[in-house]
């Protein structure tokens, strides 16, 4: 298949030590970001292309450590630099309280096509109904983010 291959590299801020060997958490995140981006980029338009996505968490005020932002940030970069996304990605997490105290944190990537769920991860437990409510909320919120993407790309290209 002549498709693009995305390589993601994700670096976490030093946090509390994990029981798993170093790098396992990052590898999991990298897989999420890579697979989300590969599904989103129109591969056929970029044959024999390898895209490296390097993400470094600089400041974590809660939600950054969830994949949503890295994936969204990566896509923003991809669009600005002229690759063609098949669909956009938006993200939403349910944070009723400061997220360390939340019972469950759900992260979604929502596609601009039919508002489908592209990526999802969860922490903690939730009921099926809560999941559906969160997806609905994420879909609603994705509209604002897609508008932001459109505005930022328009602003960039109107200067040229």
């Amino acid at each position: 298949r002549w498709e693009v291959c995305a390589l993601a590299s994700y670096r976490q801020m030093p946090g509390p030590p994990s029981l798993l060997p170093p790098g396992v958490f990052e590898k999991n995140r990298e897989q999420l970001i890579r697979k989300t981006c590969e599904a989103v980029i129109l591969g056929a338009l970029h044959p024999r292309t390898s895209i490296s996505i390097v993400l470094q968490v600089i400041s974590d005020a809660g939600a950054v450590s969830f994949t949503g932002s890295p994936a969204g940030g990566a896509l923003q970069c991809i669009m600005v630099h002229g690759l063609s996304p098949r669909s956009g990605v938006a993200r939403q997490f349910t944070v009723p309280l400061p997220w360390q105290e939340a019972r469950a944190v759900l992260t979604f990537a929502i596609s601009s096509v039919e508002q489908q769920v592209l990526m999802s991860t969860s922490k903690g437990t939730c009921s099926v109904e809560e999941l559906q409510r969160c997806i609905a909320a994420a879909q609603r919120a994705s509209g604002a983010i897609f508008q932001f993407y459109r505005d930022s790309v328009r602003r960039k290209y109107s200067k040229a």
Binding site: L19, N28, S87, K123, T125, V128
Partner: protein, 276 residues
């Protein structure tokens, strides 16, 4: 003829079957492969289980050791999972440090343990601030034919049910731990998380329990982990094709029935080894 067609056009070959709502191995789209579980397969481990999903085989061994509890929560023990996908199980893996898939699987299992609270870490504490159990849960894949996450989650649950920890008392005079190997206690398993994986074919068709071949051809995967109360412990969808909320609901409905199947199987196996 069919073999040639399959080699040249594997995707088209699969589509022909999917059109008829079945798969090349004769299963329906929502059907799991035969699940086999053997508990207590490794006698030298503190708990072990071997799980087969069709050809996929995963063995889980649990080793208990002593350790000092973490400084920030002195009444807790540790559970450390590790998934090993060695070259033994499939030619796609190479010798050396664990690859991305193995590491992602380890993290997935760690998340399931954390989210589902299968065991309260407080139960692993022996003496507050002094001594706690560490459970090393090692998974080795013996045969890789897709759906490794479901097999690992099931093996973890079965192996944890098999763990017998010896009674430990702290000698007040010497301050040393004394282990009484004659008196053993099972672990207190609070939840029974069961994973159900799906792959998405051609962005629309959902197939349960994919083989390695199906995983390669598919455009996306979803894994849903559910406990007996119907609460979702994990909704893991690492990218790939999108799913509508309604499709996701279908997956959850299938996961509920899968949980019942697995629970029934494990109860039966546990019961069959009890009378000894």
């Amino acid at each position: 003829m069919a073999a040639g067609f399959k080699t040249v056009e594997p995707l088209e070959y699969y589509r022909r079957f999917l059109k008829e709502n079945c798969r090349p191995d004769g299963r329906e789209l929502g059907e799991f492969r035969t699940t086999t579980v053997n508990i207590g397969s490794i006698t030298t481990a503190d708990g072990s289980a071997l799980v087969k999903l069709g050809n996929t085989t995963v063995i889980c061994g649990i080793k208990a050791e002593f350790a000092e509890p973490p400084a920030e929560s002195t009444n807790k023990g540790y559970i450390v999972p590790n998934v090993d996908l060695s070259p033994l199980c499939s030619s796609r893996f190479r010798p050396g440090p664990p690859g991305e898939e193995a590491q992602a699987a380890s993290q997935f299992i760690a998340d399931v343990i954390e989210n589902s609270e299968i065991i309260m870490k407080e139960d692993l504490c022996i003496a507050n601030g002094k001594l706690a159990w560490v459970l090393y849960c090692d998974f080795i894949c013996l045969d890789y034919d897709g759906n490794i996450l479901d097999a690992c989650t099931f093996a973890l649950l079965a192996a944890l049910k098999n763990v017998q920890l010896p009674k430990v008392t702290i000698n007040e005079e010497t301050g040393l731990a004394e282990v009484d190997l004659k008196q053993t206690n099972p672990l207190n398993i609070r939840k029974h998380p069961v994973a159900t994986s799906f792959v998405i074919f051609d962005e629309t068709i959902l197939i349960v329990d994919p083989t390695a071949e199906e995983e390669d051809l598919a455009t996306g995967t979803v894994t849903i982990v559910m406990d007996e109360e119907g609460r979702l412990c994990s909704v893991h969808k690492p990218g790939g094709s999108g799913l509508t909320a309604a499709k996701l609901q279908d997956c959850i409905t299938r996961a509920v029935t899968r949980h019942k199947e697995v629970k029934k199987l494990i109860d039966k196996v546990i019961k069959s080894i009890k009378p000894k």
